[in-house]
Structures are given as C-alpha cells and as structure tokens.
Amino acid sequence: MSAVQEFPVDLPGDPIERAPALGWTAITLGIATLSLALTNAFSIESWGADLPPSATVARIVDEAGYWRAATDRLGLGTPRATMRRIWTQTEQARWPAQRGTEMAQR
C-alpha cells in the first residue's frame, strides 16, 4: 500500500471484531432489505413506474401496486408518508418577508 493513503474502513479493533463476518453482513443486508420492502412500498411502486415501458415492466408495476396497497392496509407505509408530509411542509416554509411578496404577487 502507498504510504500516503489512508483507508477509511480500517478501524482500530480487537481480534474478535476482526473475525469473518460474511454471515453477519448477509443477515444485516437481508433484514434491511425486508424492512424497507415492508415500509417503503411507495418507492418500489415509483421505481416501477419510472422504468422504460414493456410487458415485464407492466407486470412489475401491477405487482408493486398490489404490494403497496397491502402494506398500506397494514399501516406500514404510514411512517414514511408522515415523514414526507412534514418534510414537504418544511420545504414550503418561507420567511415572513417572502410570504408578503408571494401574497402581493398573487
């Protein structure tokens, strides 16, 4: 390795934490993927809708729509929807002087 380079993923650590961790990583990624599939069906549906149209994509979009409806019925999409609403309100917030200008423009 070149002497000047620093590698961010080299952490100080004891030997136990340097043990092989492929299983630990696979479980982490698997659970994260499953959790996101359950709580973020909105993004899966949007992704499907943005793909170039084809018969396969149409089927993906249909399935994603059913999946979103199912997770929404269980309330799993609520946290994302709530956070999105709050964030959109934050995006739309204006300084008092800007609100006055916008009112005048209307």
Partner: protein, 470 residues
C-alpha cells in the same frame, strides 16, 4: 446506473450474493469484472470496448516495460503508453473545443472555414480510468509496482464502485488486494454501511435540494437576483459540490468494502483548510495526489529547479487540472486562480519576514474558504460572461434587484453543510466502532430506518453526480 437508485440497489444485492458465493478468487474477479461491465454498459454499451481496450493497452505497455526485448527502449515505450492514454482522453474531451477555437481564430483573421465538429459524446469516467492507466504504466516504469496479470488490470480499471467518479485507486493499492480472496470483518462492514447511508443523505437530501430549488435558478439568471441571493447561492454551491462529490466517493468506498476491498480516503473536511495547500490535501485527495506525483513532480520537475520553476510548476499543474475538468475557459480561470494562490502562498512562505505575526487560524480559514468559493463561481458558471455578471452582482449590490429567495430550509442546509466541517474528524469511525458490536438484526433494522428517513426527505428524482461529466 446511479448509486442512489433502486435499480442500483437491486444490482448491488445480486452482485454481492453472486460474488461472495464464488469459491475461487479467480472466478470472483471474473464475476466482478462482468458486473462492472454490466454497470458501465447500463449507461452506454458502446463504450465498454473502449474501457477494455484502454486496460489491454496499459497491460501490454507494462509487460513491455519489464521485457528484455524493450530494455533499450523503455522510455520510448512509456512515452508511447502515456501518449495513447492522453490521446484517448484528449479526443473525447477536447476535440470539439479545439475545433471550435481554431474555427473562431480562423474567422477572426478572415479565413472562415467549416471545420468538422463531431459532437463527441464523453464516455462517463474516462478521466478516471485514463489517470489510473497512466499512473500504472509510470509506476511500473519507475519500479514502484510489478506488472500485474491481465485480469487484475482489467478489474483495476473497470471495478464499478470507483469507475465513473473515483476515488482514483492506484495499482499499488488495489492489485495486491486482488491476489487472495478478501475477508469481511464487522469493522469494515460497519464503516461501509455508515459511509453509504451518509453519502446517500448528502447527495439525495442536501445536494439535490440545494441544486434544484436554489443554486441552479440563481446561477441560470444571476442578473435577476439580489446580491444576497448571489452570495448565498455561492455558499450553497460550495456545500452542494462537496455534498455531491464526497457522497459519491463515500458510497464508492462503502460499496467496495462490502465486496471486501479497501479504497483510500478522498475527502477530509476540506472547508476547514487554513491555506489552499491544506485545501488540496483535503479535497479530492486522490486526484491531488495524482496531479502532485505524476504531473507536478514527474512531468514538470516539482521544486527541483529552484523557486521560480516551483511557482511556474504549481501554476501549470493547476491550469492543467482546471482544463482536465472540461474544455471551457471558466475551468482554466478556476485552475489559474488556484495555481496563482498556491504560488503566492509558497512565495510568502519563502519570503515573509520571520518576525511578522501570523494570521490567527480562524482568519486563515475564512480567507481560504472565500478564495475557494470565488473559484467555485467560475467553476459553476456556464460561461466567463455569466461568471462576471455573477461577480458584478455581488460587488455592486445596490445596482441589481432586492429581495432574498432562499427558503429557511435552504439556509439551514447551507449552515448544516458548513457546520459538518466543524465536527470531530473521527466521528464516523467512533460510531462504526460502536455499531460493529451490535447484533446483525439490530443493525439491519437501524439501517432500514435511516434509509427510510432519507427517502422521505429526498428530492424527487436523482440528478447525476456533478463529477460524472469530468
């Protein structure tokens, strides 16, 4: 295929599963190579052969450099290899620019001609893999690295995490890692996951929001914005470009680590630099190291020729660094500004009386930051005239319109983007040390929760990374 998209997420999960299930290291590398070509081909399949040809050429030159047959012609072979790399880069990047400049010059002296403008498409990442190729053949020539096997060179230049926007990973750093099947450990994975999530946040929330809702509109029409808007948009672009570019390399480092490979750091809180020299030790560190080692020292002679030549070399290095960003006079001016200030800093260090008091650290930081921001105005402006209009609006604040169009969120994001430079330098390392002790299900749920929050905050759609076009 952009990192912060579901398409890339699916691609990466499949690659991760397939690559780690390969028993032999050779098959593992072949699978990674195929995945990298699929990744590159998803943008434009026509340029995959160019990537392969570039790797083949550099491999062949390196083999020749250590062959008995070329023992008397090593230097000529090296120059040939470097020249071919530069010709490829020059053709795709500068052909149209120089044709237009020649056409304009001929027209100005009364010899107007219709010169062929090919509207050449710039292959994504061409600068990065060309720089890798040049550093490889120079390092082999200098004896710093041994010639690598063809498979290793193909993978070195094609490896998808760094392929399109760096970091520039040298053969000396990556090829030794290809020699045996890598092992994952919790430390590496914890840091990798934090880097990916942090990069996702910087790109999709901070950089995208700043770009679309404030910085782009102000830079598109500076004449109809107030001086306050112009100043904030300049600060906003400083934050945007840092969050955009460092996000890419954070994610690249994290993704490579999940596949078992270590990439060098590329950013280190650049806006806390107290001089421009310090800035370049913190910003795009692998490019600055490349420019220092192969252009400033290797090609121009560095500081070996005395003070005047040192200043000239600093200036030339940064001018060429600016031109590397693109065929536009704004980049040349950006490079000249950086080169000029670096030379002045060196001159001051050489000539300033020892008894003179030094500026306090905070003042040096403020001066350095504003020189960098001034450079960003040229870097971001579409043309020299636009940059001058922009600067004119700042220096003559009462001549333009009044008002302030940045929303509270934009001001908050700019402040946050600057404040992150005041964070303890090792905050993420400390966090990763804690995360690696947690059980996998807890880390998985935590990771999903963070990505969900970021996804709820992200701006609609994903713009390409700024450095894709370089």
């Amino acid at each position: 295929m952009l990192f912060p998209t579901l398409t890339f997420g699916v691609f990466f999960l499949i690659t991760f599963a397939v690559v780690w299930s390969a028993r032999s290291n050779e098959w593992r590398k072949i699978l990674l190579l195929v995945a990298s070509w699929v990744f590159y081909g998803a943008w434009d399949w026509r340029f995959v052969p160019l990537l392969i040809a570039s790797a083949l050429m550099n491999w062949a030159v390196a083999q020749g450099l250590t062959s008995e047959r070329f023992i008397d012609r090593r230097k000529a072979l090296l120059l040939c290899g470097v020249a071919i790399n530069l010709l490829i880069l020059g053709f795709f990047k500068y052909f149209d620019f120089f044709t237009e400049q020649v056409g304009a010059t001929l027209a100005a002296i009364g010899f107007e001609r219709d010169l062929p403008v090919l509207r050449v498409i710039l292959p994504i990442g061409i600068s990065f893999f060309t720089f890798q190729g040049i550093s490889y053949v120079v390092d082999v020539y200098r004896g710093r690295v041994q010639p690598a096997r063809l498979l290793d060179i193909l993978l070195l230049m094609s490896f998808f995490p760094h392929l399109v926007a760096g970091p520039i990973v040298r053969a000396a750093d990556l090829v030794p890692q290809f020699q045996s099947r890598p092992k994952l450990d919790r430390s590496m994975v914890s840091m990798a996951l934090l880097l990916i999530v942090w990069g996702l946040f910087k790109k999709t929330v901070i950089a995208s929001e700043l770009a679309v809702t404030f910085v782009d509109p102000v830079f598109a029409d500076p004449a109809s914005h107030s001086a306050l808007d112009l100043v904030f948009a300049a600060y906003g672009y400083a934050v945007q470009i840092y969050c955009d570019f460092s996000a890419y390399t954070d994610m690249a480092i994290g993704l490579a680590a999940l596949l078992g490979y270590r990439f060098p750091r590329n950013f280190n809180q650049p806006y806390r630099a107290q001089s421009l020299q310090d800035f370049w030790r913190r910003w795009h560190m692998t490019l600055s190291a490349w420019l220092r080692d192969y252009l400033y020292i290797e090609a121009l002679g560095g500081s070996r020729g005395g003070k005047l030549l040192t200043y000239r070399n600093l200036m030339l290095t940064m001018l060429l660094g600016g031109l590397w960003h693109g065929a536009n006079w704004t980049f040349v001016i950006w490079g000249a500004l950086h080169g000029g200030v670096l030379a002045v800093e060196r001159l001051w260090a050489d000539a300033a009386p020892k008894r003179w008091p030094a500026l306090p650290g905070w003042a040096k930081l403020l001066v350095t930051f504003h020189v960098v921001v001034l450079g960003w105005i040229f870097f971001r402006a579409p043309s020299f005239a636009d940059a001058m209009t922009y600067l004119g609006g700042i220096v003559a604040p009462f001549a333009g319109p009044a008002g302030f169009t940045a929303s509270p969120l934009i001001v908050l994001l700019i402040a946050f983007g600057l404040a992150m430079h005041a964070a303890p330098p090792h905050w993420m390392t400390d966090m990763a040390v804690r995360v690696r002790r947690f059980p996998a299900p807890l880390v998985g749920v935590g990771l999903a929760a963070l990505i969900l929050v970021i996804d709820a905050m992200r701006f609609e759609g994903v713009a390409p990374f700024i450095y894709y076009r370089f």
